[in-house]
Amino acid sequence: MIRIIFKTFAATLFLFTAMSAGAQQQILNASYDVSRELFAAINPKFQAEWQKKTGSPIEVQQSHAGSSTQATAILQGLKADVVTFNQSTDIDVLHQKGKLLSPDWRTKFANNSSPFYSTTAFLVRKGNPKNIQDWSDLARADVKLVFPNPKTSGNARYTYLASWIYAYETFAGDEKKIRDFVGKVLANVVVFDTGGRGATTSFVERELGDVLLTFESEVNLIRKQYGEDKYDTVVPKISVLAEFPVAVVEKVATAEGTGKAAHAYLEYLYSAEAQEILAGFYYRVHHPDVVAAHAAQFPALKLVAVESLFGDWQTINETHFATGAALDQLLRRIAQ
């Protein structure tokens, strides 16, 4: 009996050693909720490229959740080598709360460490029955909106800031008028889901609301997936520049010895090949050839960087999204 147990034990041990000896290098990409399909398309290409260049195989694994949730998971020990998020606060927090990367992560890659970007756009029902053209239409009393809770969704934070940006331009910075406008937009929301995909379900499956506000990339993907004959895309004249920041989680990558691969992976996102895939998923990109090839797909609009209007993200969170801040004040006014 004891011999059998011992043999099984030895065999298991042997198997494990053999597996780890032959194991290929792995990196884990922790990303936001709706990027699943995107990275599923990019990763195999990178793996092939890496194999060709270095001669050794590599496996890129993916993990997806709201990017604030992902940051929390990494702080609590999720061994992600790279992060590809949809807002930079969630990367900043990796430095502030865990010292997992250096505070100047934004300078490590081109374009503020954001290989692609998007903006907030509108998805409306076919034929645009409510005639939604720009932000001003979203404040009308007869229009019902769907977007996630800005408190739990980075996507919705951009939506909120975009409406603020529009109001800022329109009312020449008059704070009272801006608040009135953004308040009207918020009052038209019929459901606050916790994340982007939840809001999509509410709009598409439950048929709630007249307009779904989300990233332009999502707007187009939803149209493609649920029927171009059912929905139309409306891109407003002015909106927010939503950069999708990336970073190597240096502490994890150093510990795992994956620093070089992690860096190469993020660098690869800037290549023409990867940018082509990104554009195929309706993300706006930087590579000049790809931009030229997809010019018709992306209507021109004025994009405003949030930092230029509101200050850094920490300030934005304190003045807009923290408990008792501007968003809460506006919502309270609506409730009364």
């Binding site: 709201g66 604030s68 949730t69 929390t72 927090v93 709360k97 809770n149 408190k151 739990t152 929301v189 019929v190 459901v191 606050f192 889901d193 916790t194 939840g198 379900t201 509410s202 499956e205 439950r206 048929e207 709630l208 969170n317 999204f321 923290a322 408990t323 008792g324 809460d328 919502l331 309270r332 609506i334 409730a335």
Partner: protein, 274 residues
């Protein structure tokens, strides 16, 4: 208390293992929660606990949980009675169905319910012309809580009803008691301990329910936001201490409710014995 006198051998070992298990699974996380909550400053505590949005969420959660628990107390009693006392085809199947809310991931339950009761859903479609909205309203929260906490009432009542000898009812009937009297004076008193415990468990479960509720509630601030969502929101703001503090208060309230019910029960059963 010598170990050798016990029926089962290894009293010390089993007690030690039991306590260790309980500590690891229950006590350790609870302690971590308290420690995390303890890091909050008084000023922050005051700030968060006077936030009207949180207070509104507390009100919504409690009222909904109480509605759901009362609903389950009534229907759960009915179901438990039917399942133990009546013979009908498919009884075993119905009995298994009771546990479904436990087996189903709560998020799936929430999504399914909201699909069913949305304006374009099977049931929602019929209710819409009557002006009744379940999904994305307060009623949706109650529905989700009722669904996830139903097994508690039924499962605590079933063994008691099984043990209840029908002779008492027959005797009462022979002595001329009306049906209402039999229920009210003979049956209910012996069911009350189990019924109140089951209802309390359902209430406590409903107070903390997250997955099922957020998909059907609509999550409108001040109207259909529940406390567990507020905790989730605080985590999203990286306000871990606030999240822990609110969670701790919720936990404390639940424990207090359980304690009170147990005390009441003890007094009740002591009086019954007189």
């Amino acid at each position: 208390m010598k170990g050798g006198n016990r029926v089962l051998p290894g009293f010390r070992l089993s007690l030690g293992l039991g306590v260790l298990y309980l500590s690891l699974i229950v006590l350790l996380p609870a302690t971590t929660l308290v420690l995390q909550a303890a890091q909050i400053r008084w000023s922050e505590l005051l700030f968060y606990f006077t936030d009207p949005r949180l207070l509104a969420a507390v009100r919504v959660t409690f009222i909904a949980a109480i509605c759901a628990s009362l609903c389950n107390a009534l229907l759960g009693l009915l179901l438990a009675w039917i399942l133990t006392r009546y013979e009908f085809p498919g009884r075993k199947f119905a009995d298994t169905l009771i546990d479904l809310p436990f087996a189903l991931p709560t998020a799936v339950a929430g999504l399914t319910l909201s699909a069913l009761f949305a304006k374009n859903g099977w049931i929602g479609k019929m209710l819409a012309p009557m002006g009744v909205e379940i999904s994305f309203s307060f009623a949706g929260i109650v529905l989700a809580m009722t669904f996830t906490s139903l097994p508690f009432v039924v499962r605590s009542l079933q063994p008691v009803i099984e043990d209840l000898a029908p002779e008492y009812e027959e005797a009462a009937e022979c002595l001329g008691a009306t049906r209402w009297q039999i229920f009210w004076r003979i049956l209910l008193p012996s069911l009350i301990p189990a019924l109140s415990m089951g209802t309390t468990l359902a209430l406590v479960r409903s107070l903390g329910e997250f997955g099922a509720v957020i998909f059907i509630a609509g999550n409108m601030p001040f109207a259909t936001e529940v406390v567990s969502l507020m905790i989730f929101t605080y985590i999203g703001e990286y306000a871990y201490e606030a999240a822990a503090a609110v969670a701790f208060v919720l936990l404390l309230t639940s424990l207090l409710i359980l304690l009170i019910v147990q005390l009441l029960q003890r007094r009740y059963s002591a009086r019954e014995k007189l």
